[in-house]
């Protein structure tokens, strides 16, 4: 890898690929860095290997994603897979970690952060048992590899992922013991307000529900898994109904025997790298929590660093494509001078469509959001930080002692100090603090971010390569 490209794009998902296409169209040299084994992001990871090779898929962002990938391949855009940007020098040079090569410091004229999103969860006792996995992870296993996590499954959570997973489980001849949804049925009807633009999505949802019903799977609304049990691995779990505040109704518990349980409560943006670089972040529940703040040109608070897709707000694949393209055009214009009239018109069109996708994103985020009573009803013995095995009781003790901010709870308990650097527990911890009477006044806060933002082998720090200062 030479040390200089004009633009480094972090993430080869829809946003990153869309930006790369706009940039290569304007003859800007691009390098894409992506930690996954193959480019395409999480969305294309869900395309079975077989149809990916033939490029067969239906309309929608995935089809456009495949087309983009093909275009980038044919234009020989540099894509480095299994490679991560793990830090920066704070002045435009990024630290790149690739397999079996020392960490390298690379520079670029512009950087685009298109690092996607991850799932978030409402923890319960037993959620660390093998056999309990995320709805997104289960979907990737099934669609990407044709492997069912278990022959029969309980699926629970909020937002669109549980439903999407249920469809895949049925398609691959798995059985669904129960499909639980946190929300009320009427919450989904809010989509009606976004008609007519969102009609296709509404119809899609109705078709999906119909398909599930035909297979005998009825979504139980206002329900939640409150415990999972098993010796060494999952054997059974307990479901409960929820009252209107979102708290489990005593007496409504039922035991479900199942070897597989998939859970997920929506998505949160991956903004760690942006924050490591010093980009300003803002908290917005309608965007999935902490997001990188960007201008109309997708530029962050740090000049020359841009962000596109889920890091600026959860809204799905179409928004990622639009923002990627906008960022690509904006970066091209900042490097090459004024855009052509055609491109300027294109930008205006993209921004208009972006507005509609943002409305849809807000709907998704509201639908997935767990009410305060959900977090307030987590049992004390529940592990919150999976890496350091920190239980809620320790967090409550810390709050009781007066260490009630995100940073001081982390310091007092080690919650968020493990390998994942708080990616899984920080959004949960924040909700716990925001619903606790003695901590809520601190307001939302993200955990501090330290480089390397993802673990690297110490060995990769040993032999500096050519071109490294």
């Amino acid at each position: 890898m030479s040390t200089k490209a004009r633009v480094i794009i972090v993430g080869a998902g829809l946003a990153g690929m869309a930006a790369a296409r706009s940039l290569t169209e304007h003859d800007v040299k691009v390098r894409i860095i992506d930690e996954n084994p193959h480019p395409g992001g999480q969305l294309l990871r869900t395309i079975p290997a077989a149809s990916r090779s033939t490029g067969l898929t239906r309309e929608g962002p995935k089809r456009r994603g495949l087309a983009l990938l093909s275009r980038l391949k044919s234009r020989r855009v540099e894509i480095h897979s299994q490679t991560q940007v793990v830090g920066s020098d704070g002045a435009g040079r990024v630290w790149v970690d690739s397999p079996r090569a020392p960490l390298q410091e690379l520079s670029a004229d512009r950087i685009l952060l298109a690092s996607g999103a991850r799932e978030t969860f409402l923890p319960f006792p037993g959620w660390t048992l093998p056999g309990v996995l995320s709805t997104g992870g289960a979907q990737l296993l099934i669609k990407g590899s044709g492997v069912l996590p278990a022959p029969e499954m309980v699926i629970a959570g909020s937002g669109p992922l549980p439903l999407a997973l249920a469809r895949e489980v049925l398609k691959y001849k798995g059985r669904i013991t129960a499909l639980l949804d946190e929300s009320r049925l009427v919450d989904s009807l809010e989509l009606l307000k976004l008609l007519p633009r969102q009609l296709p999505r509404l119809l899609q949802g109705i078709r999906l529900q119909g398909r599930l019903l035909r297979a005998g799977v009825l979504t139980r609304h206002q329900s939640r898994i409150i415990e999972a049990r098993g010796d060494e691995q999952l054997a059974e779990c307990t479901m409960a109904g929820l009252d209107s505040s979102g708290a489990p109704v005593p007496g409504s518990e039922r035991t479900l025997r199942t070897p597989g349980l998939a859970v997920g409560c929506g998505l949160v943006p991956n903004i760690e790298l942006g924050r490591e670089m010093g980009c300003r972040a803002g908290y917005n529940q309608n965007k999935g929590g902490w997001v990188l703040l960007v201008s109309e040109s997708q530029e962050t608070s740090i000049s020359g660093i841009y962000a596109a897709g889920e890091p600026t707000g959860i809204a799905g694949g179409n928004k990622a494509l639009l923002e990627g393209e906008i960022a690509g055009l904006a970066i091209a214009s900042s490097l090459k001078g004024r855009l052509s009239r055609k491109d300027r018109r294109r930008l205006a069109r993209l921004r208009k469509r972006l507005k509609q996708e943002l409305d849809f994103g807000a709907f998704l985020c509201r639908l997935a959001r767990i009410p305060a009573a959900g977090y307030a009803s987590i049992p004390k013995e529940t592990i919150i930080c999976r890496c350091e095995q920190i239980r809620l009781a320790e967090i409550l003790e810390s709050i009781h002692l007066g260490f009630s901010t995100m940073a001081s709870v982390k310091k007092a308990t080690r919650c968020g100090m493990g390998r994942c650097q708080g990616r899984t527990c920080a959004p949960i911890l924040q909700e716990i603090l925001m619903t606790h009477p003695d901590a809520a006044s601190n307001g939302p806060a993200p955990l501090s971010v330290r480089s390397p933002v993802k673990p690297v082998a110490l060995e990769s720090l040993l032999e500096p390569k050519e071109g490294v200062r």
């Binding site: 079975p48 093909s70 391949k73 979907q139 669609k143 799905g316």
Partner: protein, 105 residues
Amino acid sequence: MLDNDSDSDIKFHMSDLGVTTHSRQDKVTIYVNGLAVPASSGGNVHAALQAAGFQILRRAGLEPRGIFCGMGVCYDCLITVNGRPGQRACMTPVHDQMEIQLDVD
């Protein structure tokens, strides 16, 4: 993931994606704690382990852990690959004859 478009109804075709690792699904063999396990060369190690029934991939203290996020975030599926410890099973592509060590005792 968010967009529920189905890939069952095929209406679109593209000739060559150049994604060679995905163009053929070769059956290969990987070794898990010395045991031969069949796997597909296009997939990732966590899927091969799951398919072969290895649910417990490591221990956090005494607690068993398996696949959780499946997308490189949670670091729960850490395994040793060809002697290199601390690799995420869900982010490691399958290669023929690779040796996997699960630290579960």
